[in-house]
Symmetry: C2
Subunit: 180 residues, 2 copies
Amino acid sequence: MSLPHVLLGLLWSSPSTGYDLARSLEEDVAPLWRAEMSQIYPALARLRRAGFVLLRVLGPRRGPRRNLYRITATGRREVKRWLAEPAAPPSSKDEGLTKIAFLEALPLPERRALLARYERTIAEEIRRLRETAPPHGFLREARRGAIDRMEATRRWVRGLAGESPAVAAPPAAAAPPKKR
Amino acid sequence: MSLPHVLLGLLWSSPSTGYDLARSLEEDVAPLWRAEMSQIYPALARLRRAGFVLLRVLGPRRGPRRNLYRITATGRREVKRWLAEPAAPPSSKDEGLTKIAFLEALPLPERRALLARYERTIAEEIRRLRETAPPHGFLREARRGAIDRMEATRRWVRGLAGESPAVAAPPAAAAPPKKR
DNA sequence: TCACCCTATATCTGAATTGATATAGTTTTC
DNA sequence: GAAAACTATATCAATTCAGATATAGGGTGA
């Protein structure tokens, strides 16, 4: 629904090619929004049909020809309109937390192992994000927000692993009918 | 990729119908994973073909006939296998934070308005989650984790809105060519 | 010089997901 | 007693998304 808007947002300050958009998306917008080339090119085509961007074909400098996209006045209006409409609350679709929700299916030692491993996974992702060159302006702020949120999750996972009772003995109500 | 696994996880402790799974998904797994009926029925069919669940058709008690799904031993093994494989780090695809990343496109007062509104949206979602009956066992824990994360995000948004400089004047590097 | 990597474009498949619609009986409400 | 809401199933179209593949020129290193 809003990949086109993200692309418009990236084009706000300077025109660029689809390839550069893909790189910028992965490096700067990083964990907040991801998309493959196979999504980006069709999205740019649609933006063009909608009149939100203009295409200029450049002679090849290195490799094949380059398609440079530039945001139009209509495109800028569209970005503002998008920003102005209310955002959906974070849905937090999260594989790791979801697995924790079904931890009941595992015996004790594996429960602990899962929590420990997931905490490591998050910690590693945070480190990776910190290592890559931070973007500028609000892009940097937003990335900090994402990292902040991951850190909260990491602390929470660690906390759950620490309260041994919860990991050791889930509340009776949901205990599986373990064949004794 | 893992809706089938979530369904298996819900079937772990007791068999139920597609309808009940949909309700349980929305009420208990709530913000961690969502799915529409139109996803659930095909997923159940695939689980059945894979031998992870068994179907028993019940005579209608209220309304039409009911299809009761029960997890098989193979299904339980599959859940354990799924839980054992490493989970991807939270990608935090988040419309609200993404919009903040492009706040540069808005004039000052609207920036503040956007942040304030997003904070309200999150607060409301948290309240809504707290009001609905909490699930049992690890489902409850996981929900707490999700709420915890939302609260962290809310605090962060509030913090950003509070540091007026950031909202008032983004770092020069990315400052828009404000016609002064 | 040959192989490999990087820039750069683009398409295709298939799965995941959303949203709308259809059907039909039962229970609740006015 | 009619309308509305709930239980329950299911399909369809459209879109999003991920992963693989194709093409092609230029630069880099063994």
